[in-house]
């Protein structure tokens, strides 16, 4: 029996229906203005009660994480969730200039993606899943009635930038390419308005927007249900995860934690197939469980096909 997917394409969107699972993936450009978002929505067959908007990481982490994000989105949809992914303006396949990309534009894009998800699927309950620095727009966007899932966000923008610089240096050195030090990159940023980090442009505008913010700034004061996806070291939560948990609980957030079996090497592209990584399946199960979707039809079978 042939099980080829079916696809339907119109002028501005394309739909793939998975022959095996019935999952629907719809790719489209969202927005009416001059700068539209590239967006991809995953919906399972049947009635929908909740959705997840995925706020991806930035810079080289966007590429390094992308396929894992695809696998995760398909797994979540198999658990019965509607999933909305998108590329921030100025990145990927979206419109816009990287010169205008900053935390505020990222938050606007996350909100626009959530609106599109609600409009297209009818779901009212939406959680924002922020991966690494994607946790910042997720935290800000969820202030207005959303739930929040944070996957290993940096506590401050300054820490994120430092790690981005270091990762660039490490990868270049591993590849035998002479590279600038973190201090030299900082200086170059001040002098030239941008630097290259693993093939991606970090503009001074984005740098300044990140450096001046903390995750606390993004969270606001409204307590909400939050799931932390964290990592352990030597059998204990990593210090930054503990700190984040304490910070959220101090503000009255209802916090749950799931510990990832293995940390994602998010600055680097792994050569193993993302489909094979058990930690992605673990995260999907944890999110579905947290959203009270344990009863969903495909949960147990989801580890074999993505």
């Amino acid at each position: 029996m042939e099980l080829n997917d079916s696809s339907v394409m119109s002028n501005r969107s394309a739909v793939r229906i998975d022959a095996l699972t019935g999952l629907r993936e719809e790719a489209e450009f969202v927005g009416e203005g001059d700068e539209r978002l590239f967006a991809l929505r995953y919906t399972p067959p049947g009635a929908l009660t909740a959705g997840v908007v995925v706020c991806e990481p930035l810079l080289a982490q966007f590429i390094a994480h992308y396929r894992t994000g695809t696998v995760l989105a398909r797994l979540l949809a198999r658990h019965g969730l509607a999933v909305q992914r998108f590329h921030y303006r100025g990145t990927g396949n979206s419109d816009g200039s990287v010169d205008s990309l900053d935390l505020d534009s990222m938050t606007e894009d996350a909100i626009a993606a959530a609106e599109r998800l609600k409009e297209a699927t009818g779901v009212e309950r939406v959680a924002y899943l922020g991966i690494k620095i994607g946790g910042y727009p997720a935290a800000a966007a969820s202030q207005d009635g959303g739930e929040l899932i944070l996957d290993s966000p940096p506590l401050t923008g300054r820490i994120y930038i430092r790690n981005a610089f270091r990762s660039h240096a490490v990868v270049m050195m591993q590849s035998g390419v002479p590279t600038a030090s973190t201090a030299e990159l900082q200086q170059a940023l001040q002098e030239t308005d941008d630097v290259n980090l693993l093939g991606c442009r970090l503009s001074k505008h984005l740098h300044d927007s990140l450096e001046s913010r903390t995750l606390t700034d993004q969270l606001g004061d409204t307590p909400r249900r939050t799931l932390l996806i964290a990592s352990e070291r030597a059998g204990e939560l990593k210090p930054e995860a503990k700190e984040l948990q304490a910070l959220l609980e101090e503000r009255g957030f209802d916090v749950s934690i799931t510990v990832r079996a293995k940390e994602d090497p998010l600055w680097y592209v792994e050569h193993s197939a993302p489909e094979d990584r058990p930690e992605t399946h673990q995260v999907a199960n944890a999110i579905a469980g947290w959203m009270n979707l344990e009863s969903n039809r495909e949960a147990e079978r989801s580890s074999t096909h993505a």
Partner: protein, 311 residues
């Protein structure tokens, strides 16, 4: 020269097309001036990637050439980006050729575009070269940082070349290493490193004992038959090629220049006026510099104007 018109998502549409049992995802950019009936297909290289490519390089290239009347298709290989399937091997001997041919079929059958120009980056350049002889509609190859020999694509090959054989033997005998081998994924990775190292040692030994490797080899320059055979066929059809290197990618460029002076010399002479070599500022390999990316966008547009492909 007037600035090229700005192209946005208003001229783009997402597409799906079949490649065997898999469904591939892509974005088709339509020209904003009179269409030439020629599509530029953008093919990234190894390591999991996404249709926009690093730093939006493919997005920018697609929109740039659309301003000059070309269609452009950027797509994900199976197991990459938003396509279906799985991919863990990025090998110059198996460079996702079927996916590229599927992209060509999609353009011909669904969009009515008969002629194509391939833009390939590293492993993508190899895919372009291997696919071209079977496809009569190919009008040009833009080969970014191509490798003339096979392999050295994955992490395992880099690791295999990074350390001595003695280092690996000592590592293999450590308790920590043996414990790691209980993990099936680490076991597979270790096997790939060991295989790569063994191949490297065998190749070195072959040279030392005067035996040629299974590829064209002159004056110590190795050119894989997987590179040479399709290139001879492409050269026979006088398909224009632009060989593009970064100004600081001296190793990759040096290997190519040595090949031109050796096994590729005859082809190079016959290709006068059809092949050219471009250099962009900075680095294309590993992670392309911002300067190289900017140069590539304009270099591609300029080369397309020079070769003026028609359907």
């Amino acid at each position: 020269m007037p600035d090229a018109p700005v192209v946005t998502t208003r001229s783009e549409k997402p597409v799906y097309f079949s490649s065997g049992d898999e469904t591939l995802f892509g974005i088709l950019t339509e020209p904003v001036v009179a269409p030439r009936g020629v599509a530029v297909i953008l093919i990234y290289g190894g390591g999991h990637n996404v249709s926009a490519h690093v730093g939006q390089l493919w997005t920018r290239m697609a929109r740039r050439v659309a301003a000059d009347g070309f269609h452009a298709l950027r797509y994900d290989h199976h197991g990459n980006g938003d396509s279906t399937g799985r991919a863990e091997v990025f090998d110059h001997r198996t460079p996702f050729v079927d996916d590229l041919k599927a992209a060509v079929s999609y353009l011909q059958e669904h969009e009515g575009i008969p002629a194509v120009v391939f833009v390939g980056d590293c492993l993508g350049a190899r895919a372009a070269l291997v696919a071209a002889p079977d496809l009569p509609g190919v009008k040009g190859l833009y080969m970014m940082s191509p490798m003339v020999y096979d392999g050295r694509m994955g992490k395992e090959d880099e690791w295999a070349e990074s350390y001595s054989t003695g280092h690996y033997i000592r590592r293999a005998l450590q308790w920590r290493t043996l414990k790691k081998l209980t993990d099936p994924r680490l076991r597979r990775a270790a096997l790939r490193v060991a295989t790569s190292k063994l191949k490297k040692v065998t190749r070195t030994a072959s040279k030392a004992f005067g035996r040629s490797a299974p590829a064209a080899s002159e004056a110590g320059v190795e050119v894989s038959s997987n590179f040479l055979v399709p290139l001879e066929q492409v050269a026979a059809r006088r398909i224009p090629i632009n060989w593009v290197f970064g100004s600081t990618d001296s190793e990759r460029r040096g290997e190519f220049d040595a090949a031109l002076a050796g096994p590729l010399a005859r082809l190079w002479e016959n290709a006068e006026g059809v092949w050219e070599i471009s250099e962009v500022t900075g680095r294309i390999t590993v992670h392309p510099d911002l300067s190289a990316q900017n140069d590539l966008v304009e270099d591609l547009a300029g080369w397309l104007q020079r070769i003026d492909p028609v359907s």
